[in-house]
Amino acid sequence: MTLQIVTANRLTDGAVVYYGADHTWSQWIADAVVSDGSSDAGSTLALAKADAFTNGIVEPYLVDVYREAQTIKPVRYREAIRARGPSIYTGSKHRMPVSNTAVQSTATTAFQNGL
């Protein structure tokens, strides 16, 4: 059975949000209402769309998820990246390499393994 949740972006800052209980939108995927079955998901999406405009939410859509150890995880890695944020460093501190060639690598490992 496919599990689905509704996600969108917030109008004011574009942040990723999920449709939760009682017509609320949360930045945490854990707060998302999980639908099982397409008719259930369809009606959740319809509700979310109806709520979106007044709540300043842009273009809600459905995402396939699965449950693992009590947590909700997106099936596609695109959605996993949306849920967690970029897998790379997104600040300005510690960007300076200590020498001309080495900069601390913020690249890869933990996030990649997490997918």
């Binding site: 800052d13 574009g14 990246i81 897998s87 790379i88 960007r95 001309n100 690249a107 890869t108």
Partner: protein, 551 residues
């Protein structure tokens, strides 16, 4: 460089006012997202995976120090303290809030900048040789004509809703550093047999899903006809370009369908009707724009600076930096200094506000206050005295900006990829970081020469993978990130599209695959051949064999 007059100032301020009103109407709920989206896109504002992204135009890659400081101010005030320089010589901010964007545009307008036409199916920011005006091999400074095209294309009423986006590049030099042949319209400045300077006009280049090399439709166009001729090309494209399929809507597909001769005939037929209709600039206006690009007050210097030569010899690291990052200048005693934004393991093209401020200061101190952005996502100080290079180098070292890898394998082009971009199929930056680290290790023990390694996170090819000597394209293979490798691409005057070597590699395997390619190259290289030359000599087969076996 060009400075706004009262008219240009009034124009961008009117544009800011217009967008502020549009944002207010959106936030008040008067405009729906469907209505607002085309309006924000016309001001360079995208909604990406995690946030908005604002793309600011840096016309033909030229910045003053005060403009670069303002870009730093915007990063610090409205964003996460950094910006990303792109392959269109623009800068992107990845985290602006919608309500702040009108203020950002106001701050940009104050330093004669904007975000107009950095998105949408219109004429985008014109790009140019980042050595324009200072290159030793230049016929004429192309910035004058870039500025003329910039003004002409800004809110052009007829060409705001083209079949697809439209990109120009202009080069005035013999060597093509602007990837001219990969643009919808590419322009080379040429000198004819009578010694007059004019334009060779090429049409139909591009990357994306169907990469093509541009073809010449006019060998020599006298300067005074530039705008009417461009207008004719754009009109033919606007009327006849395909609109039924967005993947076939670029001008290259039209040119391919009609053939170059028929396309030329269509353009010339239209041009005959409009060439005398006052679309072109009057001489006085050409002259007005030309005067802004008068050379700075160069000193008369000796072509060989003894101290500089000695320093290169004494400080080998400095010598290495000069070898890779410094290019010849048209004026004796001066040099062009490339500032690498590709630290090993870093994010290609990213710069913090502190680094931007610092480069702005160095530009004031050493380069008449001017900076260039290259389409390879680096910065350039165009007018440095050779005798100042050592001090400049030492100053750059203190801020991690003296990486001696310009034009080498670790000078990787990478698009933002799936870490930011909603169009991407796979991540680009983490792969570029791991590759950069590995290639740095290889370079420590082997001279692998200059080579261009380009990575895109999807087929739209913002990371120019088709024209990398080694190109890497991220794809989604059954829900996993995979990377397809192409070899033999070039963005220079010998432009070529890379050949796909075989099945794609997983994210874990792609770095090893590139190492295998380089090891194969080192084994088959003759003398000091560049990778691209070896590849052109021996072809795909030897690389295929070492990567996939002979079966």
């Amino acid at each position: 460089m060009y400075r706004y007059d009262e008219f240009d100032h009034a124009f961008v301020n009117q544009r800011v006012t217009q967008f502020r009103d549009q944002v207010d109407r959106r936030l008040d709920g008067e405009l729906t997202e469907d209505e607002f989206k085309p309006l924000r896109l016309m001001n360079g504002l995208y909604l990406q995976l995690h946030a908005y992204m604002l793309r600011v135009a840096i016309p033909y890659g030229v910045l003053s120090s005060s403009q670069l400081r303002q870009l730093a101010h915007i990063a610090r005030t409205y964003d996460k303290d950094y910006g990303h320089f792109t392959t269109r010589q623009n800068i992107q901010y990845n985290w602006p809030k919608l309500k702040d964007v009108p203020d950002i545009l106001r701050d940009l307008a104050a330093v004669e900048m904007h975000a107009i036409q950095t998105s949408g199916n219109c004429i985008r920011n014109v790009t140019a040789d980042h050595y324009a005006g200072v290159a030793a091999d230049e016929i004429e400074d192309p910035r004058v004509y870039c500025e003329i095209i910039r003004q002409w294309s800004t809110l052009h009423p007829e060409f705001a809703f083209l079949p697809r986006k439209f990109k120009f590049a202009v080069s005035g030099a013999h060597q093509d550093r602007a990837a001219v042949k990969l643009h919808d319209i590419g322009i080379y400045m040429r000198r004819n047999d009578d010694g007059e300077i004019g334009f060779e006009i090429l049409v139909g280049g591009g990357q994306g899903r169907t990469p093509m090399i541009a073809q010449t439709i006019c060998e020599f166009l006298p300067k005074q006809h530039l705008l009417s001729y461009l207008e004719a090309i754009l009109r033919v494209y606007n009327e006849s370009g395909r609109r039924d399929n967005k993947y076939k809507a670029r001008i290259k597909i039209l040119l391919y369908a009609t053939g170059v001769d028929e396309f030329r005939r269509m353009v010339e037929t239209e041009w005959e009707q409009i060439k005398d209709r006052n679309y072109d600039l009057p001489d006085v206006e050409m002259q007005r724009i030309l005067t802004y690009f008068a050379p700075p007050n160069y000193e008369t210097l000796d072509g060989t600076q003894r101290d500089f030569e000695v320093r290169k010899f004494e400080d080998r690291e400095f010598g290495t930096w000069v070898k890779h990052n410094v290019a010849g200048h048209k004026k004796p005693g001066y040099a062009i200094a490339n500032i690498s934004l590709k630290p090993v393991g870093g994010i290609p093209g990213d710069a913090t506000s502190e680094q931007m401020d610092y480069v702005a200061d160095l530009a004031d101190q050493y380069s008449f206050g001017e900076i260039r952005v290259s389409h390879r996502q680096n910065l350039v100080l165009p007018d440095v005295k050779q005798s100042d290079l050592y001090d400049l180098y030492k100053a750059l070292c203190r801020h991690g900006l003296a990486v001696p890898n310009h034009g080498t394998a670790t000078d990787i082009i990478a698009c933002p990829g799936l870490d930011y971009c909603s169009l991407a199929n796979a991540r680009s930056i983490p792969v570029s970081q791991r590759l950069s680290e590995r290639l740095h290790e290889i370079r420590a023990s082997h001279d692998i020469g200059d080579m261009h390694l380009n990575i895109s996170g999807c087929i739209n090819a913002c990371g120019h993978h088709h024209v990398g000597a080694i190109g890497i394209l991220g794809v989604d293979r059954r829900g996993e990130e995979y990377y397809q490798i192409t070899l033999g691409g070039s963005a220079f005057e010998d432009a070529s599209i890379g050949d796909i070597i075989g099945p794609a590699f997983s994210s874990d395997a792609v770095v090893d695959a590139v190492e295998t390619i380089i090891t194969t190259f080192l084994g088959l290289r003759e003398n000091d051949e560049r990778f691209i030359d070896t590849y052109r000599r021996i072809g795909l087969k030897p690389f295929k064999e070492t990567l996939y076996g002979t079966d």
